[in-house]
């Protein structure tokens, strides 16, 4: 039966990883704006000759 203890601990640890990921996501500002990303993804760059700056993932606040 003691294997269940192991499984419980394991499942809690997995859940904790997701919780930490969530907290990180909130802190890094991913939940600050839930509107514009949904619009942004639909933009297409028709003829983007200029190079897109490589800031894409950066949090604008920092």
């Amino acid at each position: 039966m003691s294997v269940i203890v192991l499984l419980i601990i394991f499942s809690i640890v997995v859940a904790l990883i997701f919780l930490i990921a969530f907290i990180w996501a909130v802190r890094s500002g991913q939940y600050d704006d839930m509107e514009s990303p949904s619009v942004r993804i639909l933009f297409e760059d028709k003829k983007n000759k200029d190079k897109q700056p490589d800031h894409d993932q950066e949090n604008p606040e920092k």
């Binding site: 039966m1 003691s2 269940i4 203890v5 419980i8 499942s11 809690i12 859940a15 904790l16 997701f18 919780l19 969530f22 907290i23 909130v26 802190r27 500002g29 939940y31 600050d32 704006d33 839930m34 509107e35 514009s36 619009v39 942004r40 639909l42 933009f43 028709k46 200029d50 700056p53 800031h55 950066e58 604008p60 606040e61 920092k62």
Partner: protein
């Protein structure tokens, strides 16, 4: 620009929509690149975007643009070159990298996002820009060596996205962290709730299979561990609020909630420690999870709206001051007495000053509501808050900004009014009795069982406290009011918080401001019908009507736009016949302006017959005895006002407070019921006193106003609503912001507030039923963890569902959605 045709057609009747901003081209129509534009500003923006290959802007949304209200950015942003001001505005600054973020009220659609995020294609030096749509913020990385902050801001302004610049941006940052903390709390509560439930599953089904005591105890202690952050982190807000309430000898709704949380936790830990049972930790975590989620939903609605603005938001940040013979930009707060400052056309005067040079036309509409610009001569005192119309002027500062008249008004105690929402809210009144009742039942149960079974007695006592947790009770109000506020929001009426809605239910007296509230501030649309006027003729007309105080005169004057000043040209033989018209000689030409009857006797060619249209006022013009046609001005009261007043008049007392003169009294009397109090020429402090006198007479006052002149009255009244043409623009501090186009629905809003009260009462009844059921179990000593685990979430969820459906259903019936 080869092959592009450009011409201007005036006075065209067909409704043509501007390709850029979507407005109807009323006064002029510019055809450019086979597209229609309503003004040169819109065309210019189009040209800029086209030259930079940014026309996708127009593909994403139809007519996404913003009309440029003022086009002269010449030196407006010079203050941004100052190092001290830059330091305050920039988020980050290094050799060739700077970061800044702006609040841009104009952001409103996906085209805006697209354009603002493609700024780097428009101007070299802008590296990267990112929009936060809900908060209307734009984050920019740029190279200050290639483009200065000033250039950046004026570039934004020229394409219609003028940022709002304030030196007090810290407040917004604080709000952001609050929101994030709440989200994290929800996350943690949800995590604990889910895991505790999962671990308690065997218990729910009475699974005795786990007879292994070690595992059972292990699971129990793991639950305690999981509940720790819920109690010590997620619930802190409730503890704090309950504590503050108790310190003021006041039981608010957070007191029973905190009591519930503490009892749940203590009892559960005791049970687990002594091996009595598994406790109620799942209920505890669930309770917090639901409560916090409710709070988050409420916050969500109100992102991006600010209700706490003060005069500083209206005033310029910097001004040109004379220093050693040169004008230099300085921050407004650094102004000292006797400084000489330079104010350009359309700028706001930041401090009480004397006019040092020239003549000034000061528009105080912003401060007093009086819509006619006031002529000021040399050495006249000009109060802060006025807007100069016309040529540049120089002023000598008499009082620093902090001591100016307007600022003093702000220091009136009304603005220091504490948020008293806690004190009179319905839920808090009920919670007092609720707490008392629960304690009474708990002790009765304890005493009753003490005689029978000692152990059972304590179990009953704690069980009552646990199950009586006012979860459903506390959630019914925020959800009902939150949903109602959403409904209002869809009708462009935004309330500051749910308590405002509660106040709305009790209003007895409605006070209207006139200018900007009952009448649009931008005046009605004006069309000239007849023989087009030459430029010189317009000048004569404008010279003549600048003598008249009639509101229609002012509107015609405004419709001419910028004309060279004609102050030097005298008007001879000026006569004014009240209610008829005016006439006079300008540069030897006899000009008559007024009704067709007024012009008739002297018109040689007859008067163009007026249309019979009560929605339009007509002002006829004749020059040297020759009738030229008339200005047709759309009736300047808001649509649906008559009907609104008729409906409101039945149920509420009405008053009008106007900073303007009495010319409109007659018109207003025809709309408002007899007995309406009408006060004209009201100063801001008089307005405030009027509200105060109504309140001391026992009335609960709803005030609708727009300008700074109403700010005092708005704050003083029980419910102050700022009316605005444009929700994104700045409104005085208030309890609610209403789009001017929705003002005719005011009666519906007030009625709906009563509906939501009924819904709240209904949800109270539901949650009381649950409580009675739960207490029944508890008093009988049958509150097993499984009963608690089912009953508590079920009551919360059903109340939430009921509130949501009831509000939306009622809104549909009342045709608000």
């Amino acid at each position: 620009m080869e092959g592009l045709q450009e011409n201007t057609v005036r006075g065209k009747d067909k409704k043509v929509i501007c390709y850029h901003c979507g407005d109807i081209c009323q006064n002029e129509l510019i055809v450019f690149d086979e597209k229609n534009f309503c003004c040169n500003g819109c065309r210019t923006v189009y040209e800029i975007l086209k030259d930079n290959d940014l026309c996708t802007y127009y593909d994403l949304e139809k007519n996404p643009g913003i009309t440029l209200k003022s086009r002269d950015y010449g030196e407006k942003y010079n203050f941004l070159d100052q190092a001290e001001i830059q330091h305050k505005i920039l988020d980050f600054r290094e050799e060739n990298t700077a970061k800044v973020h702006f609040y841009i009220p104009g952001i409103h659609c996906s085209s805006c996002i697209w354009l603002l995020e493609n700024l780097y294609r428009l101007r070299e030096g802008i590296r990267y820009s990112r929009v936060q749509f809900t908060k209307k913020e734009l984050f920019i990385d740029f190279d200050p060596q290639k483009i200065s902050l000033r250039q950046l801001v004026s570039q934004l302004a020229t394409i219609g996205y003028e940022p709002f610049i304030s030196l007090e941006q810290e407040t917004r940052k604080k709000q952001k962290t609050v929101n994030r903390t709440l989200l994290i709390k929800i996350g943690i509560a949800g995590f604990s709730f889910g895991n505790i439930m999962l671990l308690s599953f065997p218990e729910y089904f009475g699974f005795e299979g786990i007879d292994d005591l070690v595992i059972q105890r292990f699971i129990s202690w793991l639950n305690v561990l999981l509940a720790l952050p819920v109690v010590f982190y997620c619930s802190t807000d409730y503890f704090r609020s309950a504590y503050t309430g108790l310190k003021q000898h006041y039981i608010n709704i957070d007191v029973p909630i905190s009591l519930g949380i503490i009892t749940l936790f203590m009892v559960s830990v005791t049970y687990i420690a002594f091996g009595i049972g598994p406790g109620y930790l799942d209920s505890l975590a669930g309770l917090l999870f639901f409560l916090l989620t409710g709070r988050w939903i409420q916050n969500k609605t109100y992102e991006g709206l600010s209700f706490e603005r003060d005069y500083r938001s209206y005033f310029p940040l910097a001004v040109n001051r004379m220093e050693n013979g040169f004008f230099r930009t300085v921050a407004v707060k650094d102004l000292r007495e006797n400084d000489v400052i330079h104010i350009r056309n359309q700028e706001i005067i930041p401090a009480d000053s004397l006019l040092a040079s020239g003549e000034a036309y000061i528009d105080y509409s912003f401060v007093t509501g009086e819509s006619r610009p006031v002529l000021k001569k040399r050495y006249d005192l000009i109060y802060a808050g006025g807007r100069q119309m016309g040529q540049s002027i120089q002023l000598t500062v008499r009082k620093p900004v902090s001591q100016s008249y307007l600022t003093q008004l702000w220091n009136n105690e009304a603005f220091g009014k504490k948020d008293d929402s806690q004190l009179d809210s319905m839920i808090n009144r009920i919670s007092k009795y609720f707490t008392a009742a629960v304690l009474f039942i708990a002790f009765t149960g304890l005493i009753f069982w003490l005689g029978i079974n000692m152990e059972k007695a304590w179990f009953v006592f704690t069980a009552v406290l646990i199950v009586a947790c006012p979860c459903a009770l506390s959630m019914s109000t925020p959800f009902t009011l939150g949903n109602s506020m959403n409904i209002f929001g869809r009708n462009h009426f935004y309330l500051k918080n749910a308590h405002v809605l509660e106040k709305m239910m009790k209003i007895t007296h409605i006070v209207f401001d006139k200018t900007g509230t009952l009448t649009p501030i931008g005046d009605g649309k004006i069309n000239f019908k007849g023989i087009p006027l030459e430029k010189d003729e317009k000048l004569w007309i404008s010279r003549l009507i600048s003598n008249s105080t009639h509101p229609l005169s002012r509107q015609i004057l405004n419709s001419f736009g910028q004309l060279p000043s004609l102050v030097d040209v005298p008007v001879q033989a000026y006569t004014e016949v009240k209610g008829k018209g005016i006439s006079g000689n300008v540069e030897g030409h006899k000009i008559m302006i007024g009704s067709s009857e007024y012009l008739m006797p002297e018109a040689t060619n007859g008067v163009i017959p007026p249309e019979n249209d009560f929605n339009h006022s007509q002002v006829h013009i004749s020059i040297n005895g020759r009738s030229r046609g008339y200005f047709s001005i759309v009736n300047h009261y808001r649509d649906g006002l008559g009907e609104l007043i008729r409906k409101l008049g039945k149920r509420y007392k009405l008053s009008i407070l106007s900073g303007d003169n009495e010319t409109e009294r007659k018109n207003l009397q025809s709309i408002f019921p007899a007995g309406t109090v009408m006060m004209f020429d009201q100063q801001p402090d008089q307005k405030l006193e009027f509200i105060e006198s109504l309140q001391s007479g026992g009335d609960r006052v709803l005030m609708l106003g727009d300008g700074l002149n109403d700010a005092g009255a708005l704050v003083k009244s029980d419910l102050g609503i700022a009316v605005t043409e444009d929700i994104t623009s700045f409104t005085p501090a208030s309890d609610g912001i209403m789009d001017a186009s929705g003002i005719h629905q005011l009666d519906k809003f007030l009625e709906f507030s009563l509906t939501s009260r009924r819904i709240i009462i209904a949800s109270f009844i539901i949650s009381f039923l649950y409580n009675i059921l739960g207490m029944g179990f508890a008093v009988l000593g049958k509150l097993t963890p499984i009963v608690a685990a089912i009953l508590m979430p079920a009551s919360s969820i059903s109340v939430v569902i009921f509130a949501t459906f009831a509000v939306n259903g009622m809104a549909k019936i009342k045709k608000l959605i």
